[in-house]
Each structure stands twice: as structure tokens, then as C-alpha cells.
């Protein structure tokens, strides 16, 4: 079966790093509601994540489904590799 290019793993790692930053900032902002710097940073990374996700999905198909991602034609979100196979 065709192997995934290295670029796929790098993009996924970027997505994972940005996701982690968003998780940390969310937890931080839960207790620091008026920390505007952190809010600005959070919004910056939300935009960043959207860019990375669009980039990945344009190259390698949808990441999630049930309305979280656009679908390719034919329906391809359930193709290999699944997250645990990557």
C-alpha cells in the first residue's frame, strides 16, 4: 500500500503541537478570564490551527467527520491510514 510522505508526519506534528498549546491555554484561561495577552495568543493559535487543518485536509483528505471536515469525492474519510495506523 502506498507509503505516506514525510510531509504528512510533519504537518500532523505541527497540528499536534498547536492542539497542545490550545489545550494548555484553555485550561489557563478557565481560571484567568481577563488575561488579554493569553486570549490574543489563544486566538492566534486558533487561526493557526485552522490553517494547518486546511493544509492537511487539502492534501490528505478529511481528518474528522460528522460535519467536522469537508468530504472528498468519493467518500474518503474512512480510508486507510487510521490514526492508530499512522
Amino acid at each position: 500500500m502506498k507509503q505516506l510522505p514525510q510531509d504528512y508526519y510533519e504537518l500532523l506534528e505541527n497540528l499536534q503541537a498547536v492542539d497542545f498549546v490550545l489545550v494548555e491555554l484553555t485550561l489557563y484561561l478557565d481560571t484567568h478570564n481577563d488575561d488579554t495577552d493569553a486570549i490574543n495568543q489563544f486566538n492566534y493559535y486558533v487561526k493557526e490551527r485552522k490553517k494547518i487543518r486546511k493544509d492537511i485536509e487539502s492534501k490528505y483528505g478529511p481528518l474528522m467527520q460528522y460535519g467536522n471536515s469537508y468530504s472528498g469525492n468519493p467518500w474518503n474519510w474512512d480510508d486507510a491510514p487510521w490514526p492508530w495506523q499512522v
Partner: protein, 74 residues
């Protein structure tokens, strides 16, 4: 003040048949000394934060069990 580990020296009797444990260490991560987290702490880059396990540098705690050699992490 904020040390990653602290240790204490339990008493052991000279007649104790088993090999005495002379020093016992326990982990004291930085968040114990932080209380309410102040804003604008220095941060890691996203990639480093992913490896370090936290976004803020002062909260970083590389847990090494006292038995394995204390590997010098970041």
C-alpha cells in the same frame, strides 16, 4: 525553594535484618510552590511544549525516578 525533589533519611535499626533504605526521595513539582499562576510566565515554543509536557517554562518538571540515573533533560 522549588526543587524538583526532596528527600529524608528514615531511622533504621542496627538489628534490622533487611538492607536499610538510607534515603527516601519524593517528587516536588514546581506547581506546589506556585499557588495561583501569575500571568505572562515565559513559555516554550509549541514543539518544545509538546515534548516538555507544559507550555510554561517554570512549570516544567522532568520527573526522574531516583533509581534511574538522573538524566539531564532540558
Amino acid at each position: 525553594m522549588s526543587t524538583p525533589e526532596k528527600s529524608y533519611y528514615p531511622y533504621y535499626s542496627p538489628y534490622d535484618p533487611c538492607k536499610p533504605i538510607k534515603v527516601k526521595t519524593y517528587s516536588t513539582p514546581p506547581n506546589l510552590y506556585l499557588g495561583f499562576q501569575p500571568p505572562n510566565l515565559p513559555q516554550f515554543s509549541p514543539k518544545e511544549a509538546l515534548r516538555a509536557g507544559t507550555l510554561w517554562k517554570p512549570l516544567y518538571d522532568p520527573y526522574y525516578s531516583p533509581y534511574e540515573k538522573a538524566k539531564e533533560g532540558r
